[in-house]
Symmetry: C2
Subunit: 120 residues, 2 copies
């Protein structure tokens, strides 16, 4: 079995055949990480209930949690308006980040000028 | 002025010199869209209070809301653990998506098999 043809027809992949997947904790809304999927990784994610990516560094499919135990149970999957990004809502077991942090965005907050519509 | 050198040193860009930016509504946690930044777009985002991207289709900087009025006021900016993704929390005015939807992920929800740790 392969990815449903109607979904495959809507996907817009980068030159490596991949789309970015934004991974979000389904109930708290935390953005956990960004990973990459090809058609097969998306197919497995949709059909197995386990978030599955293409590891660019290792060059292989990566079922999140198979090594670490930090499984991502799939709750909701959507494509964006032009089919070039996946939003994946999951139930994350333990830490999403390989550093042990809950999310990959916890450790490196940048100083930003914060302005508002009131000009503050 | 250019992007702070210590930040630039941590960025890991794709072959086009870009990193993906996940854009999230700061209070509700909604993931609004994904866009792309080069060093200059990140610098402008950090220093002006307005979310600023590199438009790959138009080949120019894109200050979100300049045309549509759907401004994104910057609230929080972070890099991920390996410096190849930005998480941008904003206060979104109106619709984030050019289709008029609140987010770019509202219209194309995929059927997914949902399983849980209990095997359900």
């Amino acid at each position: 079995m392969a990815l449903d043809q109607k979904i495959a027809d809507r996907l817009r992949r980068n030159p490596d055949g991949l789309v970015p997947a934004i991974v979000q904790q389904h109930d708290t809304g935390e953005v956990l990480m960004l990973a990459w999927m090809d058609d097969e990784a998306l197919h497995r994610t949709l059909t197995t209930g386990r978030a599955t990516y293409w590891s660019r560094s290792r060059g292989e499919y990566w079922v999140k949690g198979d090594t670490s135990g930090h499984v991502q149970w799939v709750r909701h999957v959507a494509l964006d308006c032009d089919g070039d990004t996946v939003l994946l809502k999951v139930d994350q077991v333990g830490a999403a980040c390989h550093t042990g942090d809950r999310t990959c965005f916890d450790a490196d907050v940048l100083d930003a000028h914060v302005a508002g519509a009131d000009g503050a």
